[in-house]
């Protein structure tokens, strides 16, 4: 199942030129870029692994692309996303986040319904691998 998350989730996967252009946009806005990866794309899994430190004070997307390539080489079968952090007072949060790499075979999600007291149904979603 094609997992979608974050920005541009309604679009086909971005190619490197498009990713680079998005990063340029982030850098123009003086956002710091972080690269993160995970093998569990569960929507409630907010803590992805960090690929190195977030990158501050970059001027050109080439630096991020270099790290992205290194991350893809190390974890070709992981989800990789790019986060752009805005430190402006009042925002102080991730302003843009999008997926830039996905495994060849993607996991699916399995939904379990458990009936508890008073006919209430609890729904649990778990990631199911291949």
């Amino acid at each position: 199942m094609r997992v979608t998350q974050g920005c541009f989730s309604f679009l086909p996967d971005l190619d490197d030129a498009q990713i680079s252009a998005q990063i340029e946009y982030c850098l123009r806005n003086e956002w710091a870029i972080g690269i993160e990866y995970t093998d569990d794309p569960h929507p409630r899994n907010t803590y992805w692994e960090m690929w190195g430190n977030p990158m501050f004070d970059l001027r050109d997307a080439a630096g991020v692309m270099m790290e992205l390539k290194a991350c893809r080489d190390a974890f070709p079968d992981s989800y990789i996303r790019i986060n752009a952090f805005d430190s402006t007072r009042g925002f102080e949060t991730v302003r843009l986040s999008f997926i830039v790499n996905r495994p060849a075979v993607e996991p699916t999600f399995k939904m379990t319904r458990t009936e508890v007291r008073g006919r209430t149904v609890n729904v649990t979603m778990t990631t199911e691998y291949g």
Binding site: N53, M55, L58, R59, D60, A61, A62, G63, M66, E67
Partner: protein
């Protein structure tokens, strides 16, 4: 990136002089001529390099060459001869010609690249490289990266990463290595990888006495100060004496001398004048302000023993 300027790839002719005008490189070169005193051979070399880059860009546009020329450079010369200043202008020229995308200059030394323990160097070097992407990386006193006496020195690791990026990401950044001529020569001898990847070697000569005097005057003019006649004579004398003393660093020594003269001038105005003073007094450096320098009495006391 530059194709839009000429309106398509159909044309089989290029107007080099129009190219030169439009790129805005002429302004940078003129500015270089105006603002930097002396340095004739350096200016000549930069003009030649700019011409080469313009021709190369034209050739690329007509499909005569596909590869980006190697742009990494080495600036050799004594301290205070303007290497950093020229590197900044170089970044501007490369930016205007479209050889670097952003045109900023990141100036680093060994400490910024080399780590202190195993596994510290690579991330450190890469971080600097990432910041320099799209611009120029200026490595001052580059020979400190290589320490032949210590084979476990982490400098070697930084050198390897640098070489790799210099080779594989030639479109993304330009590296300028700078330092004393003789030590740079030795550095290149022991690191042939660098020599072969650097296309432009520019040598910065020492300044003449007269050039240093006009540098001093232009530095003062920038801060709205000026010499009186006696001070000009004192400065000429100062330059002659300072050159003979250790740690002479060309324009940098002049800047420091002027900073101290300004301090003495302030002190003099503060303690000697009791009446209101005008603009002229506030902006005049007198002979006395310069002559109380220790250079006139044979240099720093701690240095005297060493030179005699």
């Amino acid at each position: 990136m530059t194709e839009g300027e000429t309106g398509g790839t159909e044309s089989t002719e290029v107007d080099l002089s129009a190219d030169f005008r439009e790129s805005g490189v002429a302004e940078v070169l003129d500015q270089l001529d105006r603002e930097l005193i002396g340095l004739k051979p350096v200016k000549q070399r930069i003009r030649e390099t700019a011409a080469l880059l313009i021709v190369d860009r034209a050739r690329q546009r007509l499909g005569l060459s596909q590869t980006t020329p190697t742009l990494h450079m080495s600036f050799t010369g004594n301290p205070g001869t303007g290497k950093t200043t020229v590197a900044m202008r170089m970044a501007d020229i490369l930016y205007r010609l479209g050889y670097v995308r952003k045109g900023h200059l990141i100036s680093v030394t060994r400490d910024d690249l080399v780590g202190q323990y195993i596994g510290h160097t690579a991330p450190k070097t890469k971080e600097i490289l990432k910041k320099a992407m799209g611009g120029v990386l200026f490595i001052d006193e580059a020979y400190y990266l290589y320490r032949p006496d210590n084979e476990r020195d982490y400098g070697q690791e930084a050198i390897e990463i640098l070489l790799q990026v210099m080779e594989n990401q030639r479109d993304d950044l330009v590296v300028i290595l700078a330092g004393y001529a003789d030590r740079m020569d030795k550095f290149f001898q022991s690191n042939p990888g660098f020599r072969s990847r650097i296309a432009h070697h520019i040598d910065f000569p020492d300044y003449e006495d007269a050039e240093l005097l006009s540098i001093a005057e232009s530095m003062l003019a920038e801060q709205n100060y000026h010499f009186d006649d006696d001070a000009r004579a004192a400065m000429t004398e100062y330059i002659g004496l300072r050159r003979e003393q250790p740690h002479f660093a060309n324009a940098r020594s002049i800047r420091n001398a002027l900073d101290r003269a300004r301090m003495r001038q302030a002190n003099r105005l503060f303690s000697d004048t009791h009446a209101p003073i005008g603009v002229n007094e506030l902006s005049t450096i007198t002979g006395g302000d310069l002559r109380s320098s220790r250079v006139f009495s044979g240099g720093l006391d701690s240095e005297k023993g060493r030179t005699q």
